[in-house]
Amino acid sequence: MERRLSYKKYRNLPLHLMILPGLLLVLIYCYGPMFGLVISFQKFIPARGIGGSEWIGWENFRYVFELPGFTKVLWNTIFISFMKLFANLLVPIVMALLLNEVRKEAFKRGVQTLIYLPHFLSWIILGGVLIDILSPSQGIVNEILAWVGIKPIYFLGSNAWFRYVLVGSDVWKEFGFNTIVYLAALTGINPSLYEASIVDGANRWKQTMHVTLPGIVPIIVLLSVLSLGNVLNAGFDQVFNLYSAQVYETGDILDTFVYRIGLLEAQYGVATAIGFFQSVVTLAFISLSYYLAYRFANYRIF
């Protein structure tokens, strides 16, 4: 018995060794920073380090929540991320249903190739493109609007428009990629269901409503639940590259706020407190959403 045990132990040793390098890196660069969260309870001064800085309890948190701009930033974050969540769910579903009706394989593949493309470009590139085409003086979009007699709109500098530009451009970047999953789910629907519905006299529209859509409901539930974890993540890369002081009113989100307070104004303790708050809320939502996904869609990540 003892011999078998030691043999087994020895046999799994390579598995431990394989994990070791990755584990070390994760401990240093993911868990290390988690311990760094203690500075949200400090009046942190870099020169003194964590050991030498003064402990001030919940003072940073109180300060943040009482900041005049904070509720606005929080609201912007939630508003933008919910709009994105909804649009990024709806558009890919419609797109997948439309693509599913296409019988010519080559055409289907061509469309897919083109619509996935923006997903792979960075927000720096796409930001540059958007700044160029949306410019009020020379942008091609405003020139087209001028043909129809609409006065130039400063899309990226207007509080009325900024959020919708964010959502629209995010959908533009991601809808193709999100469509993949639904298309995969559509191919998994049992063909005999369609045959049965045809026998019952259903036309294409009825087939779509009664076979196709119900067939992908589990995956819709799953993806919407999982995206709940992103409520406090409205997309730093995108906002940071498109916003300016003119649209802080509607476009400033928690991540950009942390960046300005933390790195530009060097209020490390305060910025960490906001990040901490964000992480805790995110964790709560992700846990809830995974629980819901497990419960209603029987999904487990690994």
Binding site: N12, G36, L37, S122, R204, I286, I301
Partner: protein, 294 residues
């Protein structure tokens, strides 16, 4: 499924093809416009004549960008980053995914290890503590600051381990009976069978490294160490002229700002535009195999 095509059905199919074609063109029109601007003369671009086709075709903008030392230097940083970062990502992905793909009956600490990695997606220390971790490990302002913090791509690990798990168990058992250990099984059996998934994950890792910019901006004290996207951020988005010497600004205004920017935007996207069409067939398969489980 053979159905008679009614008139309304035909109408729908026609509209459907048209709408889909329009949507897909819409996805690349902005890029085509920028490409056209980058190949146009500065006068034509400034006057707004350029739509989707270059006006007064010229390569001057690209020559200007290629001659800019900031651009070529940051391109080298990015190439170095991709050259070291992607192989490291891939190595760690495979090395972590293999043990985690074993069931916990045979490898009992599996669940514990899995949680250690998954927690890092769920919870993070945030910007400032990460900055401090990079600082304390003394890799600030070196290429390692761009590589080590993101060396373990947990999302890719999950894709990979789900793929490994779907490989037939009998293969592994047969290998063990023939005297192979875990290392041999991984390299000789798992890896060769996972090429589609590996291609996908490599594409993700490469795109990730190519596209990141924020770490470059915060971990690199000197703009001369910026990777390409961070550099582009400063010229295309921020227009931070403090980065240029006064001679440079004159240089910059000689060549139209807009056309030069367009050329740089296009060059920044080019490698992805080139690689992507060849790999995209793989990744549809790779992603779907890894993500959707029945």
């Amino acid at each position: 499924m053979v159905e008679p095509y009614s008139l309304s059905r035909k109408l729908f199919v026609g509209c459907n093809y048209t709408v889909l074609a329009l949507i897909s063109i819409f996805c690349i029109l902005p890029l085509l416009h920028v490409f056209a601007v980058s190949l146009s003369s500065s006068q034509a671009a400034a006057a707004g004549y350029v739509k989707l086709w270059p006006v007064d075709f010229t390569m001057k903008n690209y020559e200007f960008v290629a001659g800019k030392s900031e651009f070529t230097r940051s391109l080298l940083v990015t190439l170095k980053r991709v050259g070291i970062g992607v192989p490291l990502n891939m190595l760690l992905t495979v090395l972590i995914a293999y043990p985690l793909s074993k069931d916990s009956l045979h490898f009992r600490p599996r669940t514990a290890y899995a949680w250690v990695f998954v927690v890092t997606i769920l919870f993070s220390g945030g910007l400032i503590p990460l900055y401090m971790a990079v600082k304390y490990t003394m890799i600030m302002d070196t290429i390692w600051a761009l590589i080590l913090p993101s060396a373990v791509p947990v999302f890719n690990v999950i894709l990979m381990l789900n793929f490994f798990r779907n490989l037939p168990k009998e293969l592994e058992e047969a290998a063990f009976i023939d005297g192979a250990g875990h290392w041999t099984t991984l390299w000789k059996i798992y890896i060769p069978l996972s090429m589609a998934s590996l291609a996908t994950v490599t594409l993700f890792a490469t795109v990730g490294h190519w596209n990141s910019w924020f770490d470059g901006m915060i971990f690199m004290n000197s703009p001369t160490h910026y990777p390409l996207q961070s550099y582009l951020q400063t010229v295309v988005i921020n227009q931070d002229f403090s980065l240029f010497t006064s001679g440079r600004i004159k240089d910059f205004s000689n060549i139209n700002d807009q056309t030069a920017k367009s050329a740089q935007i296009f060059l920044g996207a080019l490698p992805i535009l080139l690689v992507y069409p060849f790999l995209q067939r793989f990744f549809i398969k790779g992603v779907v195999l890894g993500s959707v489980k029945e």
